[in-house]
Symmetry: C2
Subunit: 145 residues, 2 copies
DNA sequence: GCATTATTGTAGCAATTGCAACAAAATAGT
DNA sequence: ACTATTTTGTTGCAATTGCTACAATAATGC
C-alpha cells in the first residue's frame, strides 16, 4: 500500500485531530469542574429530548453517538440509576428496550448547556468569525449525520 | 437557552467532533486489526524520531501529545518494555528522565505508517480534493502546534 | 542559607473500558 | 416448519484509566 496521502492531507488530518482533542479535553474539563457529567451524557440526553416521547432503542443511541454497544448499555445503566432516563421493553421487538428521557433528564440537559456553550466558545469558537465557522461547517459536511 | 454561540458555530462544532471521532475510531480499528499498536504510540514514536538522539523529557511528550502526566508515564513504561524506547536519567535535571527512540522503535513507526496512511485516506482524506484539504488545514491553523 | 512553593515523575486504588462469551429474539434460507 | 444466521443487549474478567497522594528535586522568596 503506497501512501497516496499528500502533505496537505497529512497536515489537515493532524490539525483536525489536534483541534478536536484539545477542544474536547477543554470542554470535558470545564464540565467536570462544574460538577456536571461528561459530554456523552449530554449527547444522549439531547437525542432523547429531540425524539420526544417515543424514545430511542439503544441500538439507535449507538449509531447517534458512535459508542460501542456495551458502552451504551452501561451509560444507560448509569443514567437510569440517576433517574435521567427510563428503560421500558420495546413493544415491537422483544429483544430490545426503549429509552426515554425523564423530567429530571431534561432538567439536567438544560443545566448543562450554558457550561457546555461557554466551553465550546472558549475552546473552539473564539478562534473564528461567523464566515469562517460557516466555511468550516461546510467543509466538514461529509461528517454530518 | 440564550448563549453567545451562533447556530453555525454549533453546527461547526458538532461536525468537527463527529468528523474526528468517526475518523479516529476508524483509524484505531484499522491499526488494531492489523495487529499494530494504538495511534498515540505512533505519535510518541514520531516525535522522538524527529528530535533524534537528544530524546525528549516526559514532560515534553506530555505537551506534544496532550496526554496526562501519568498517561505518559505508563505509555513510556509499556513502550520501554517492548524495547521501542529507552529511558535514561536527565543530566541537567535529576528529577527527570530522557526518553529516546530505539532502532526497534523506528522500525515499528515505519511499519505503522502504511496502515495509518491508508486509514487516514479511507476515513478522512477521500472526502476531499487537494484544494479542500488546503482550506481545511488553513482553517484549522489555530490548533496547529 | 533556609523555608516555601512548583515541577517532574511514579504508584495504589477505585472506576471505567474493551474483549469475548453469552442469552434471547428476530430474520433469512431452504 | 426448521435450521442457520443476524441482531440486540448484557455481563464477567482482564486491562486501562483517572484520581490522589507521594517522593524527589528544582526554583523562588526572604
Amino acid at each position: 500500500m503506497t501512501s497516496s496521502l499528500s502533505d496537505v492531507a497529512i497536515t489537515a488530518w493532524a490539525r483536525l485531530v489536534r483541534a478536536q482533542q484539545g477542544a474536547v479535553v477543554g470542554v470535558e474539563d470545564a464540565l467536570r469542574n462544574t460538577g456536571l457529567p461528561p459530554l456523552v451524557w449530554y449527547d444522549v440526553l439531547l437525542e432523547l429530548e429531540r425524539v420526544g416521547g417515543e424514545g430511542l432503542r439503544q441500538r439507535e443511541i449507538e449509531r447517534h453517538t458512535l459508542l460501542q454497544r456495551y458502552s451504551v448499555s452501561r451509560i444507560v445503566d448509569r443514567m437510569e440509576a440517576e433517574g435521567l432516563v427510563a428503560r421500558s421493553p420495546s413493544p415491537e421487538d422483544a429483544r430490545g428496550t426503549v429509552v426515554r428521557i425523564t423530567r429530571k433528564g431534561r432538567a439536567l440537559r438544560h443545566r448543562m448547556w450554558p457550561a457546555y456553550a461557554a466551553a465550546i466558545e472558549e475552546n473552539f469558537a473564539r478562534h473564528y468569525n461567523e464566515t469562517e465557522l460557516a466555511r468550516l461547517a461546510s467543509l466538514l459536511k461529509p461528517f454530518a449525520r
